[in-house]
């Protein structure tokens, strides 16, 4: 145990006990923050980090000095999250920035993304692995187009939990009526979202109300603070532990004297559980075998589950290579060359009908041709544009593709790993499309 002593803003001394062993039982939570320059998203993150004591003294000093230089009245906590030169000069964030902090309960990774529509692709990127999305609403304006867009993206990307933070409550006298109206408006809109777990919190990022500490001015609010929600939200059941999907990533063959016949299939379990003795089917060949051993670094595991990286040894000597997948015979993924997917386009060269792209799905590389563009989605309204739909930078739409070899896949709503893939421009090698498979 060690004492953490800190001097707070009002010069009182706080002492906390830090138990370094509690650290060993922490889970990891990834969440996104999206919002525009003006609705205080960066201030909210800065406040979260500052109040949970995750901003180090010299970093605070550096932003305090910069705030002063710029003639700002409050220490601009938003400066903490704007890293690159161009951004600091313009005062906006233009990419996905990853921030880290932890409390004794959990370790957090924040994928901080811009709010503008022209950075939809950044939000999609940050959202792809997130457990939770913070949707920031400016209480003065309520649910606006941007609120809906961010929520639709979170829903599309399969983020299981949303925390709607209604900010700047201080500017509206901490009015419960204002808060309730916004919650109601959002709820009406949210019936169209796939995300079922939605929380609402009235906050003031600037003054700190309900971010880490409960607000003195909103006694009518009976819910939890943002940090408390982040620390306690149940995420363990968000992972699919039912369908075994083990994409073979690398075949370990030592060829050494000691391990002459060793053949280990290394990879990260995308979903499900695998144990020694399990019967497995190898796709696409269809061969079956039994798991002889599951290990990592020579240490045997009784069972392994997603998202562990392990090495699997089988009883039989079958020809298996990277790109193959181990599954159970009574729970097979879809194997097909004809795929329907939602795509978020990330290139300034629009998606080409009949265009050919490289495709990466789990550990498999194939080529694909775009057979049809079904519609473009208006992501502010969920309206489908079917008349001559063209999908350009930051657009989201639905496509049909055909691949050169079958993919072992699942619907994205069931499995974020085997249900997703990327499209790559073969001329530039740049990732141009992020795709989610539809059943």
């Amino acid at each position: 145990m060690v004492d953490l002593i800190s001097i707070t803003e009002n010069d009182t001394v706080e002492v906390e006990k830090f138990d370094s062993n509690s650290y060993l039982n922490m889970e990891l939570l990834r969440f996104t923050t999206a919002g525009s320059v003006d609705d205080g998203k960066s201030t909210l993150i800065g406040r979260l980090l500052y109040d949970s004591k995750s901003i180090f003294e010299d970093q605070y000093e550096s932003i305090r000095a910069t705030s002063e230089k710029r003639g700002e009245q409050y220490v601009n906590l938003a400066l903490f999250t704007d890293g690159l030169k161009a951004e600091r000069e313009q005062g906006i964030t233009i990419d996905v920035a990853y921030r880290y902090f932890s409390t004794p309960k959990r370790k957090f990774i924040i994928a901080d993304t811009p709010g503008h529509i022209q950075y939809t692709r950044n939000m999609v990127t940050g959202a792809s692995t997130a457990n939770l999305a913070i949707i920031l609403v400016d209480a003065r304006h309520g649910v606006v187009e941007q609120t809906k867009r961010h929520s639709i993206i979170a829903s599309l990307l399969g983020i299981p939990h949303i925390a709607v933070c209604i900010n700047k409550m201080d500017m509206l006298d901490y009015s419960q009526e204002v808060f309730d109206k916004i919650v109601e408006d959002y709820r009406v809109f949210a019936t169209r979202l796939k995300t079922k777990d939605i929380h609402f919190i009235p906050v003031s990022a600037l003054l700190g109300d309900n971010i880490v500490h409960r607000s003195e001015y909103m006694k009518w609010y009976e819910g939890v603070t943002l940090l408390y929600l982040l620390e306690t939200i149940h995420i363990a059941s968000d992972i699919n532990h039912i369908d075994l999907r083990f994409p073979v990533q690398f075949v370990i063959r030592p060829y050494s004297d000691k391990f002459h016949d060793y053949r280990g299939y290394a990879g990260r379990i995308a979903s499900g559980v695998i144990r020694p003795g399990d019967k497995v089917t190898v796709l696409p060949s269809g061969f079956t075998s039994k798991v002889k051993r599951v290990e990592l670094d020579g240490k045997e595991l009784e069972e392994a589950f997603a998202p562990l990286s392990v090495t699997v040894l089988l009883e039989d000597d079958i020809d298996i290579s990277r790109g193959d997948m181990l599954v159970r015979e009574n729970n097979l993924p879809r194997q097909s060359q004809d795929i329907e997917a939602m795509v978020c386009w990330m290139s300034d060269k629009p998606l080409q009908l009949n265009g050919k792209y490289a495709l990466k799905h789990t550990t498999k590389d194939v080529r694909a041709v775009i057979k049809e563009i079904k519609y473009k989605l208006d992501i502010n309204s969920l309206h489908r544009i079917t008349e001559n739909p063209s999908i350009g930078m930051n657009d989201i739409g639905r496509i049909s593709i055909r691949t050169t070899a079958p993919l072992c896949c699942d619907a994205y709503t069931r499995n974020r790993d085997t249900g997703s893939f990327i499209l790559i421009d073969e001329a530039t090698n740049v990732t141009v499309g992020a795709c989610m498979i539809i059943d």
Binding site: E27, T81, T129, P254, L296, A434
Partner: protein, 300 residues
């Protein structure tokens, strides 16, 4: 049934996944080994990822010639234990061959010269992917780095040109002559690294632990007394009980007063500390955007 993982196991799995992807996607990758805790961690994770096969990457050390002798000793012992291949790029050689010029003055350092030596080594051995121990929490300019960071033929990093990284899909495709920097421990914080090293019982270089050393004050840092650092007339060295939180070369690494003698002590200290890890690195202080500028030039 409860299938939960603690965050260290989750991070370990992610890093091992990245390392295996590198082995699968590239022809000739290498691990950039600096002797610091992050590159030690990466090397250890690589061993775990491929066991019982040998680590399929050589260790590349860009030696400024101004390293702490303890760093070199540790490096050599590790290489022997892993039976790894070591390639040393010497900044001194680069200076001797006129590739770079030595900095002069009291704050002279060979840090900026490392970039040229590194790029020359990459070209000589034709490495297509260099694996480093950089983390995103270390410094502002690293917050937006990718796991797979694309570099052009000049080793340069263009912030506007980085590929989106979605789900667990890493796109390592490139043209002839380009290459990648890979950062498998991007999501680890300083505290995560120490906790993991303690959990796994990995032996660490002695510099990280409290010891007596003659040091002197300069610009808010405690620098080690060394023939490689010219001292100003008013600067006085005295023996203090210190340790190093981060290990760069001797000219730019600041020591902190500390009695932390074990990994547990270090963990307690890091948890309670009020200054960032790199706060003691003079190389980051030169301008507000030092790291970003150096990355654009082709540094790590």
């Amino acid at each position: 049934m409860s299938y939960t993982l603690n965050h260290l196991k989750t991070l370990e799995s992610e890093s091992i996944f990245v390392l295996r992807e590198v082995a699968a996607q590239f022809q000739n990758p290498a691990i950039l080994f600096s002797g610091g805790k992050d590159s030690i961690l990466v090397t250890y994770l690589a061993k775990k990822a491929f066991y019982p096969a040998a680590v399929p990457f050589p260790l590349v050390h860009i030696d400024t010639g101004h390293n702490f002798p303890e760093t070199l000793e540790y490096r050599d012992k590790l290489v022997e234990r892993l039976d790894a291949r070591l390639i040393v790029g010497s900044v001194q050689d680069s200076i001797d061959h006129g590739r770079v010029a030595e900095e002069k003055g009291y704050n002279a350092s060979r840090i900026r010269l490392q970039t040229t030596t590194l790029l020359d080594i990459i070209e000589k051995y034709k490495f297509d992917a260099c694996i480093g121990g950089a983390r995103r929490d270390e410094e502002k300019a690293r917050a937006k780095e990718r796991f797979f960071s694309h570099r052009d033929e000049f080793g340069q990093w263009d912030p506007k040109n980085q590929r989106p990284e979605l789900w667990n899909l890493f796109n390592g495709r490139m043209q002839q002559g380009e290459n990648f920097r890979i950062f498998p421990i991007s999501n680890w914080t300083e505290l995560d690294v120490w906790q993991y090293l303690a959990m796994e019982g990995i032996e660490m270089p002695s510099l990280y632990f409290s010891h007596k050393r003659r040091v002197f004050q300069r610009d808010g840092n405690l620098l080690a007394e060394s023939p490689n650092i010219p001292m100003k007339p008013h600067e006085q060295a005295e023996e203090m009980v210190v340790r190093f939180r981060t290990i760069g070369d001797i000219t730019s690494t600041g020591a902190t007063l500390s009695t932390a003698g074990t990994l547990d002590d270090i963990i307690q200290e890091v948890a309670a500390t009020r200054t960032t890890e790199r706060g003691g690195r003079a190389d980051d202080k030169r301008s507000e955007t030092s790291m970003e500028d150096r990355k654009k030039e082709g540094y790590f």
